[in-house]
Symmetry: none
Subunit: 526 residues, 2 copies
Amino acid sequence: MRFQVYDTTLRDGAQREGLTYSVVDKLAVARLLDEFGVGFIEGGWPGAVPKDTEFFQRARKELDLRHAVLVAFGATRRAGLAVTEDPQVRALLDAETPAVALVAKADLRHVERALRTTAGENLAMIHDTVAHLVAEGRRVFVDGEHFFDGYRHDPAYGAAVVETALAAGAEVMVLCDTNGGMLPSQVATAIADLTERLGVAPERLGIHCQNDTACAVANTIAAVEAGVRHVQGTANGYGERPGNADIFAVVANLQLKLGLPVLPDGCLEQMVRVSHAIAEIANIAPDTHQAYVGAAAFAHKAGLHASAIKVDPLLYNHVDPSVVGNDMRILVTEMAGRASVELKSRELGLDLAGHPDTLSRVTRRVKEMEAGGWSFEAADASFELLVRSELPEGAPARPFALESYRVLVEHREDGAVVSEATVKIRVRGERVIATAEGNGPVNALDEALRVGLARHYPELLGFELADYKVRILEGSHGTGAVTRVLVETAGGGRDWTTVGVHPNVVEASWHALVDALTYGLSRAKV
Amino acid sequence: MRFQVYDTTLRDGAQREGLTYSVVDKLAVARLLDEFGVGFIEGGWPGAVPKDTEFFQRARKELDLRHAVLVAFGATRRAGLAVTEDPQVRALLDAETPAVALVAKADLRHVERALRTTAGENLAMIHDTVAHLVAEGRRVFVDGEHFFDGYRHDPAYGAAVVETALAAGAEVMVLCDTNGGMLPSQVATAIADLTERLGVAPERLGIHCQNDTACAVANTIAAVEAGVRHVQGTANGYGERPGNADIFAVVANLQLKLGLPVLPDGCLEQMVRVSHAIAEIANIAPDTHQAYVGAAAFAHKAGLHASAIKVDPLLYNHVDPSVVGNDMRILVTEMAGRASVELKSRELGLDLAGHPDTLSRVTRRVKEMEAGGWSFEAADASFELLVRSELPEGAPARPFALESYRVLVEHREDGAVVSEATVKIRVRGERVIATAEGNGPVNALDEALRVGLARHYPELLGFELADYKVRILEGSHGTGAVTRVLVETAGGGRDWTTVGVHPNVVEASWHALVDALTYGLSRAKV
């Protein structure tokens, strides 16, 4: 069996406190995970979560995955109901994914106290649901919830769950440390005991760990060392409570420490980019100190050994940072290095390998801007405009020049809240003044700008503001902090993201809006 | 030998990028660590770092440690210099601590390339320095830098370093994974091999791990399982690159998972308080998702199983949160039902068990509001105001009535961006009009409101807007979407979070600001 890297960022990872993805976000995250080369993407729970049902519908049309198989997640049939009658199982089939993951109770105490059914009925539920889905042509994975706690309490029952799932046709039985309380040695011992008890090959087992003992990554590695060949994790370890096993650290450890080539060639070096882009989409500040991918993961306080590091960096780094797309930093500088700028430009179809001076200038500008709070991880369109501005042919021209704008928000005596914006701009030599209302200050500004430009640029009518995200940086200053805005615009069957940064949220939004229109109009001409 | 919990927050932990302690900070951290019950506090490098020299001077007079022994850190004598002539060794003695830790190179490549001396001279440096300090009455620990990488490269030399240090009188030889590249199985194998090769008892060894593979805690535990009885770590895992082993997770795992009573009685439940207090002093936002001590470490999205959790919380928690001073939290989310509203209210000190009608009304209102985009997951203060408004005594009165407000943002012709807000309110019968500027529309509005209220509510001067978060919901509508704002306010040694939702970001912020002031003033009166 090939090694299976199974990502559950979009399902279990979405349990993280405060995290919400839109359907568009989920599609974007799935594309990034596919670029990272995972084998499986668990997309959500169709039928139970309306947004997830919509995700699978749109994924069929819009997602063109190169590496990953899409997986719908659900539960075994309800107690006392025929599997063919269970609407939740029906919804799983309707998702039309090649593979399905089923959560099954593997701890008898949960069967009796939470599910309120019997040991036997739970096994029947597992058998019936797996067999039904296999008969319908699905690859089936079974997640044994609370497996490790249950196995400690009643190993015979835990083993019966595993045996039932595999006998019914499950491809892999995934052992879950749902409460996250295990240590690596305990995981290894339970797997050895289970495989001996059942005579089952550990290759038929998977591992899913939570980080409640701060050992989720190590527990996952311990399971692989015990023979398991299916690992589950989430991007950046997002998940409920302290989170899930961080799939980036898991994969990096498997490839670089155990020598298991679990990703397709060329994927490992996407790690930093994919990690940071998902953080942006999730609207969570990237963890500077995250293993492998953090901005400080290979940052050395320049001190006694600076020259020794320069002569022989591998004496001071546990791996070469570039293999995961990261950079070693000696001084306190910002994240972007030449390697990541070059990689990202290449991705956008701009090959800077032959333009070392341009590469240096872009890298320097990115560093300067990042020091001021800009981030291009998720703002490809703004990044492309920046790179092109340093190339001989230059960036596309701005469609207008700004004279001034003014935005007013009023909460009136009658309780009505109104927003109104006026822009004064020059378009192709003409001075234009335009005013519009909106349901918020940024919406009003966007509308006013479109009104002002519409006569000269009718293509704008095809653009739609698809998403708008705000992040306050340096939170300890409250509303006085710097604001970073990401704007996603859709038009002509594509979408693109731009970024703006300013202490004032309206001005930051303005920058992102102008980049969005400039980029969109330059594409519309191509 | 008694188990040794050895903290290096103030020395190795201070290597974290961006972290700086004053001497007063260091004294405060040392007191907290002592309250937590660690056996050893490594305070810094006297002689090399002036601030650390001062720390040890003041510590002698000002620190009255109940549990911990203070340790001064330094290096073995310089190559080619008699130990009695080495000013750095002299400074170690001058620190007048009962114990000293010496860093020694344990990887021959570092001896030759970084230290630029010979294998033999390095061993002589270790021997001379240990023997000298022991003769001066010090307990001596030796940190074998790069031990694990070095042992893989040249086990005979690594073993010679260990043997030399112990023979010269070191109490414990600490094996350091300085580059942080190890996995638990590799740590265990190296220790087993070393103890067999030397015939040394593993109780004479210590462990010091960095988190570059996200396995620092697990590696530390693996070493203890291999017989080691001295563990090093830092508060919250602070340290260079991805940091050190988090001493809180290490200690909790040792006590609660391996049953080793490594702390004095009554200390384990100080963990959350000490962790958060040290984060405060370090000026680093506490990691909500940190194992054991994070605010979300025992937070459950109350869905299907809220009633099961109420019956048997330990089925869903890997340990009882109260043993480390934490609490289980139920997140009031989309799927909130009566059970989770009741649990959450009880957490806030409002017992709804005897008020079934109130419970129903609150549950219904929460559901309605959540359908409109509100979220009380992270907004305990707004949730409390909501619950209290349904109780017989009612919610605390709003400190004012709004007539109207107006916010203006202008990007002027000269490029300046200005924000100005005016509020018209009634405060205790008086009509007040107040205007203020700010660096953004919300900041201006907050300022204007405070100006308007200041005369009647001087307590407001003690409140500070600590954090401000914006999330756009239903992203497919762009800036036309609903906006959710979270405001964190600090005052009187507490902080509280409030929420506001509206299509207009300014109005959403207004709701959250008003809730924040109302809640804060009601608490200030208590």
